[in-house]
Amino acid sequence: MRKRNWIVIIYILFLLLPIYWLVAMSFKTTGEILSGFSLFPQTWTFDNYRVIFTDPSWYWGYINSIAYVSLNTVISIAVALPAAYAFSRYRFLGDKQLFFWLLTNRMAPAAVFALPFFQLYSAVGLFDTYWAVALAHCLFNIPLAVWILEGFMSGVPVELDETAYVDGYSFPRFFITIFLPTISSGVGVAAFFCFMFSWVELLLAKTLTAVAAKPIAATMTKTASSAGYELGLLAAAGTLTIIPGAIVIYFVRNYIAKGFALGRV
């Protein structure tokens, strides 16, 4: 038993070390970082965070990221709900092929789509808007949401639907007042995964934006290359990107595996 615990403890330490280093770095002054190695910040400073919260080019990055991520989550869930219901309750012509085709888009390499996406969204006049990134991320988030929701919906017995219809419920009324509350944890998990994959993706988000909708992640890469070694600032920005995930993860901790298995555990 004791040996087992050590495996987990060592693994978790291994996970936390780079994160600790990032956070520690964000509280150091540039002078301290460049002057040499120190395990803890010698002189604590909040300057790096102050810069991020006062400089519009920094904090707008966060606002932009959150804006397109939220937009994407709402769109993905809204269109995935009826589709997942159809897949879980009905047989129809081409259902299996369609389901598989959706999955292939979850697997498509983003690098393949970067340039055509740029041209497509420029052509329809959405380049550098939240909509461009939110819609582009639908490519992999809608399939994900459909799969996860279908997994949860298939766990609900069809008798629930039938009883409601016998009781005289119309479909929309049944779906909103009875079915949605029943699968609310599934909706939560699907929303979490859409949020997460839209939040961590950078390649498409960077390709589809220039100034107005630029994500925080892209602001960071620019700092890393142009302003030389502002490591403390970079570390502070990085630390702030971890926080949203760390907050929401607690609520879905028991469903993480189910989400990753696309609703199939």
């Binding site: 280093w21 040499g36 589709a83 309750r89 498509a108 890469t221 970079l234 990753f260």
Partner: protein, 285 residues
């Protein structure tokens, strides 16, 4: 039983339209480029299948593909057994369960370029924790911007750090679904720890492990941002994986034809893997 109902198509229509807009139009653009040559100014010339032929014979593509398979193979060989071992060692109930679940999931929620930047800061020779310990405490000469082997080890350790939890969490979900009665029966039979693992735990984990392996295969095959931020594909071309090479060709050199041909071959490989994934996953349903 599912009812046959063609009206279900109305329900899937929004999904179909949105995904098709994002998938089919860009895909046709890629197909279009892959059979043409351009000299800029929107002048295109028919090129047939030349790009495909050239690409399949080019050293550069073979090298990138080789590196990609080496990378994917290595991380699978490490992450899958390690993830299973960790899942077996995790506590089943009590206060530490949520603590384990949350900390283990944390790396997966960090934006990919922050993962790269974080590991960059972590491994800087004189400033980073790992770099400092390696160079000054252990006396091992470690500098991943100059040494290809160090760069390789670093991107592999980074991926293990980033994604082993996925395998562990999936295996754990499989493990906790085993009823206690199975273990009690094994105890009565006097089964060894190994036979419990081999005949009770492994079969229960099989389905989720298939999912984990294939997700890891595909995501690592498509990996771009993390190694790009960490090593930029260098030193030299030593860590230029398939996606990085593709982006160098498409956005760096603007060789649209060859890049498009490469995209299609790349996509074909992922598609084949997806099909395998789907078949294995739905077989038992």
């Amino acid at each position: 039983m599912k009812v046959e109902n063609q009206k279900a198509w109305y329900f899937v229509m929004p999904v179909l339209l949105l995904v098709a807009f994002n998938a089919l139009i860009p895909m046709m653009t890629v197909v279009n480029y892959s059979v043409q040559e351009t000299f800029g100014d929107n002048l295109f010339f028919w090129q047939g299948l030349d790009w495909f032929e050239k690409l399949l014979r080019s050293e550069r593509f073979h090298a990138a593909l080789g590196r990609q398979f080496l990378f994917t193979g290595t991380i699978l060989a490490i992450e899958v057994p390690l993830g299973v071992i960790i899942a077996l060692a995790m506590p089943r109930k009590g206060f530490w369960v949520p603590v384990c679940l949350v900390t283990m999931a944390l790396p997966m929620l960090i934006p990919w370029n922050v993962v790269g930047a974080m590991w960059n800061i972590f491994t800087l020779p004189d400033i980073g924790l790992l770099g400092y310990v390696m160079n000054h405490t252990l006396g091992i000469n470690y500098n991943m911007t100059q040494d290809p082997l160090a760069a390789w080890i670093t991107i592999i350790v980074m991926d293990v750090w980033h994604w082993t939890s996925l395998v562990a969490l999936l295996s754990y979900a499989g493990l906790v679904s085993i009823p206690d009665a199975y273990y009690q029966a094994a105890k009565i039979d006097g089964a060894s720890a190994w036979s419990v693992f081999r005949f009770i735990q492994l079969p229960k984990m099989k389905q989720v492990l298939i999912i984990a392996v294939l997700l890891r295969f595909m995501d690592s095959f498509n990996i771009y941002t993390e190694p790009f931020v960490l090593t930029g594909g260098g030193p030299g071309n030593s860590t230029t994986l398939l996606s990085i090479d593709l982006e160098k060709m498409a956005l760096g050199q603007f060789d649209l034809g060859p890049a498009a041909a490469m995209s299609l071959i790349y996509f074909a490989i992922t598609l084949l893997a997806s099909w395998l994934f789907y078949t294995l996953m739905t077989r038992n349903n």
